[in-house]
C-alpha cells in the first residue's frame, strides 16, 4: 500500500498470478452464509456456484467458508438443494 508512483508498474501490470487472493472482498459483506452440516449431503453445488471460491473443500468434504473473500452474495444459499445454507446479517448476535 505504501509504494510511490515511480515504484509501481505502468498501467497496473501484475506479473504474479493469483494476486486476487490478496484482495479481501469479505469486507464488502452485509450477510454471511451459515451451513447446517446436519442437512448437507456434500453435493458441492455451493462450491461450484460460489463466484469467489470461498467454499473451502478438502477431500470432497466442506471444511468451512473463507470469510476473508466471501462477499455475502447468497448464491450458495439460493442454489443449495438441501436448503442447508442460511444467510445471517453481520453485526447481529
Amino acid at each position: 500500500m505504501e509504494k510511490g508512483w515511480r515504484e509501481i508498474t505502468a498501467g497496473a501490470l501484475i506479473f504474479e498470478p493469483g494476486s486476487s487472493v490478496a484482495y479481501e472482498t469479505g469486507t464488502w459483506r452485509a450477510v454471511y452464509p451459515v451451513i447446517d452440516m446436519a442437512k448437507c449431503n456434500y453435493c458441492l453445488d455451493c462450491w461450484i456456484y460460489c463466484p469467489d471460491g470461498s467454499i473451502m473443500v478438502e477431500n470432497s468434504r466442506i471444511m468451512g467458508i473463507d470469510l476473508k473473500h466471501c462477499k455475502g452474495c447468497g448464491i450458495c444459499a439460493r442454489e443449495c438443494p438441501q436448503q442447508a445454507i442460511t444467510m445471517v446479517e453481520e453485526c447481529k448476535e
Binding site: M1, K3, G4, W5, I8, A10, G11, A12, L13, I14, F15, P17, S19, S20, Y23
Partner: protein
C-alpha cells in the same frame, strides 16, 4: 557537405488516401475499424491493400467504433501494432475505450478525420470531436495540409511506442477539406518509412506465455491515483519526444516538426493562434496584411495534448494583441479549449497581450483569408484602444 534527404515521390492524393498509404507502408499487425463519413475512405482504401496482399495486417471489420477501439486494445495488449481511424460520432462512441487504451498504456495510433458532432445533423469538419476527448490521455497532433497529414501518420507510432511515453496518439485532419480533397504530397519510399518506424518490441505482451502478465487489473483507492500520476508523466515526456521525433524526421526528409510552428511571428504586433487546416488561409491573410504594412503573424499549434505552454508563451511574448481561433463547439466556459490553454500559458509566465477568442468554421463553414484579415484589423483596433471586449467572438456568423 550538403545535407542529403531521402527523396519522396510527389503524388496527388486525397487526405484520407494519404493516411491509408502511410498505414500500408507501416504494415501494422492489426487494424480494427468501422467506416464513418468522412473517414470511410481510409478504411476502404486500406482494406483494399489487405485484400490485394500488399500488407500482412489482420483486418477486423467490427460492428461499431466502440468495438474497433476494444479490438485495438486487445490486439495491442497481446503485443501487436494496432491502428484504427475514425471521426466525429465514431470518436464519441469510442470515448469509454479511449480511456482504457491510455490507462493501460497501449501505444495505439489513430487518424481522426475531424467532423462536427450532431445535432443538427452535420458530417462536415470542425474539431469538436477531438476537443471533446482532450482529457482522455491520448496525445493529440493536428495536420495543416496533405504533407503534414502524411508526415504525422509516419511519426505518431514512434511517439506512442517511445518507452518514456507509452500513450496512444491520435492525429487530426480536417474532414473533406483535407480528407476528400486532392493535394500534393511527397510519399517516402516504403523502405525509408519501415526503417524510420522500426520494429515494435512490446515490453509485456500477453502472448508471451513464458512471462504471464495481468493487464487491466482492478485498481481502487490504493493505487489508481499513482497510476494516473504516471500518465501525467508520460504526457510531460511526450513534449520532449514529439520534438525529438520531429527533428529526426526532419533529418531524414528535410521537413522538421516541433510542437508549434510560427509564421512571420518574430516582429509581429498582432497574431492569430490556430490549429489545423485553417492555418492555410491564415498564412494568406498574414501575407496580405504584411503587404499592407501590418505586422501580422501566426502561431500554429501542432500538439494540443500535451499542450506546449512554454513554447506558446515564448512565441507570443511581445505581441500586442492575440486572437485564438477555435473550430469547436464548446459551451459555457470562460473561453474555448485552446483559448483557455493559451491564457493559462501566458498568465503563468506573466505575459499579458490583449486576448480575444473567435469561434469559426463550425460544421464545415468555410473561413476565407478575407475573414482572417478582418480579425487582424480587429486586433489592430484592440491594440490601439486597449479594449478587448467582447472577448468571446464569432467569425463568419450571420447575426
Amino acid at each position: 557537405m550538403a545535407t542529403r534527404y531521402v527523396v519522396g515521390k510527389a503524388m496527388a492524393l486525397e487526405g484520407d488516401v494519404v493516411v491509408a498509404e502511410a498505414m500500408r507502408q507501416i504494415n501494422p499487425d492489426v487494424v480494427a475499424a468501422y467506416p464513418i463519413t468522412p473517414q470511410t475512405e481510409i478504411v476502404q482504401t486500406f482494406s483494399g491493400f489487405v485484400a490485394d496482399g500488399l500488407v500482412d495486417t489482420e483486418f477486423i471489420a467490427v460492428e461499431s467504433e466502440h468495438a474497433a477501439m476494444s479490438a485495438c486494445i486487445g490486439a495491442s495488449a497481446a503485443g501487436a501494432r494496432a491502428m484504427t481511424a475514425t471521426c466525429g460520432a465514431g470518436l464519441a462512441l469510442m470515448w469509454e475505450m479511449l480511456w482504457c487504451a491510455s490507462g493501460m498504456r497501449l501505444p495505439i495510433v489513430m487518424a481522426v478525420v475531424n467532423r462536427s458532432l450532431s445535432a443538427p445533423l452535420n458530417i462536415l469538419t470542425d474539431q469538436t470531436d477531438m476537443m471533446g476527448c482532450r482529457d482522455a490521455g491520448w496525445v493529440q497532433l493536428y495536420g495543416e495540409n496533405h504533407q503534414e497529414v502524411y508526415d504525422n501518420a509516419v511519426q505518431v507510432l514512434r511517439i506512442a511506442e517511445h518507452p518514456d511515453v507509452m500513450l496512444p496518439v491520435m492525429h487530426g485532419l480536417a474532414g473533406f477539406v483535407l480528407g476528400h480533397t486532392v493535394g500534393r504530397v511527397e510519399i517516402l519510399p516504403d523502405e525509408a518509412v519501415r526503417e524510420f518506424v522500426g520494429e515494435y518490441k512490446p515490453a509485456y505482451p500477453l502472448l508471451d506465455l513464458d512471462h504471464p502478465v495481468t493487464i487491466g487489473a482492478f485498481d481502487h483507492w490504493d493505487y489508481f491515483f499513482e497510476h494516473k500520476r504516471q500518465q501525467w508523466q508520460g504526457m510531460e515526456n511526450a513534449l520532449r519526444v514529439i520534438s525529438e521525433i520531429g527533428e529526426e524526421y526532419g533529418k531524414l526528409t528535410g521537413r522538421r516538426y516541433g510542437l508549434v510552428e510560427p509564421y512571420l511571428l518574430d516582429d509581429a504586433e498582432v497574431a492569430i493562434v490556430i490549429i489545423g487546416s485553417g492555418a492555410g488561409a491564415v498564412r494568406v491573410a498574414v501575407d496580405e496584411m504584411r503587404h499592407a504594412g501590418v505586422k501580422a503573424g501566426m502561431l500554429k499549434i501542432r500538439s494540443f495534448r500535451p499542450f506546449p505552454g512554454a513554447a506558446v508563451a515564448e512565441a507570443l511574448r511581445g505581441r500586442e494583441a492575440v486572437a485564438v481561433l477555435e473550430r469547436s463547439s464548446c459551451f459555457g466556459g470562460e473561453g474555448s479549449p485552446v483559448f483557455v490553454e493559451v491564457c493559462t500559458a501566458l498568465s503563468r509566465r506573466g505575459i499579458s497581450p490583449k486576448l480575444v477568442n473567435y469561434i469559426y468554421g463550425l460544421g464545415g463553414r468555410d473561413t476565407v483569408p478575407a475573414e482572417f484579415c478582418q480579425v487582424y484589423r480587429d486586433l489592430l483596433q484592440i491594440a490601439a484602444s486597449g479594449d478587448a471586449e467582447p472577448v468571446f467572438r464569432y467569425l463568419g456568423l450571420r447575426e
